[in-house]
Amino acid sequence: MAEDARTREFVEYVQSGGQVEATDWMPDEYRKRLVKFIEMHANSELMGVLPERDWILRAPTLQRKLALTAKIQDEVGHAQLIYRVVEDLGKPREACLDDLVAGKAKFHNVFHYPTRSWGDVGVIAWLVDAAAIVSQKALLKTSYAPYARIMKRVCWEESFHILHGRDVVLAMVNGTESQRELVQEALDRWWKPLMMFHGTPVPAEDDPMYFWRIKSQANEEARQEFLDGYVDQILELGLTIPDPKLRRNALGVWEYTEPDWDELMAVVSGHGPASAERIAFRKLSRSEVDWVSRVVLAEAA
């Protein structure tokens, strides 16, 4: 069968809900986009560890220390699961990590920002993970079956994170005035990155990821779902959202101040406030354990 006809058949197949396995034939473009998308996801899970790591050491109770360590452990586990999917598509994990520390690979905007207080810990675990789970739930229907399967486990684990995050926020909101302020201040800083999290409002029909059904949800749809789910939960705690334009219109659609999409592009390609520092940290921690891989490989040989 001619390549175009085969590709057309493939497109029809995925667009009507068909799923693809690692060993199935797939058009080159599909494979390329798939690898890029999934690799970015894996990188994001791995880089997502860094903003939160510092706070493991500073957690104010034993339970919080355990919960936060477990959450970050989960993120590392997710990175592992997702890199495995990329590997089975042909790009070894080592190559992904090389690209990451060389600043050549992308990862989600939210992990390019600094964390400043325990308030951030609550807000990130609650709202950043909530934003992520909206996308991840949509990925349960991705056309690439191995990816869909691990998304099941990822979603299951992320649901604990959101509870943990909300618990941390609630304890502070019900605590002292300064604790409440800490949460509000963190929310003030994280709101913009959260609004950018789901990406530009490119319509589904113009989004190549949607064309191939790698994504099964348009970016704006995801953002609206996030706002539907969480704005009320935030407001009911007496917190304020730092966007005066944010409101649900008569059609039930959320209106908000348009994010600066140029900023998103800059951040995601490594020019965020904490990007360079985090990539440098990854590079350093990787080179410090280079000798371990030598020993491990030599011993296994």
């Binding site: 495995r84 691990i150 491990v296 490989l297 296994a300």
Partner: protein, 102 residues
């Protein structure tokens, strides 16, 4: 950096079948056991785990069906018309519950 890929099969509860749950890398079987416990058991979510080196998995994916083999399956049988005739002959057509074919 570890070299071998291990496939993990997981049993969620006693009596349930083991299902494929994912894969991970480990230098050897000894490490694989240690890592599998943490990956698929740290929440006590698994009753049992089977670890299989990927090299031991023999995958089969092609099943030609050139000729009609439906006689081996339920969908190869249709009794509706014959049942209707038999009931009519026996005069039991009206009392057959809901006019079901089976």
């Amino acid at each position: 950096m570890p070299d071998l890929v291990f496939e993990v099969f997981r049993q969620e509860r006693k009596g349930k079948p083991l299902e494929h749950a994912g894969s991970f890398r480990a230098p050897d079987e000894r490490a694989a056991e240690i890592y599998a416990r943490e990956f698929y058991g740290r929440r006590h979510e698994s009753e049992a785990l089977w670890l299989v080196p990927r090299s031991a998995v023999h995958a089969i994916g092609d099943f030609p069906e050139e000729f009609d083999k439906s006689y081996r399956r339920v969908d190869g049988y249709s009794l509706r018309a014959q049942l209707r005739e038999a009931r009519e002959r026996a005069g039991t057509a009206e009392s057959a519950p809901g006019g079901r074919a089976t």
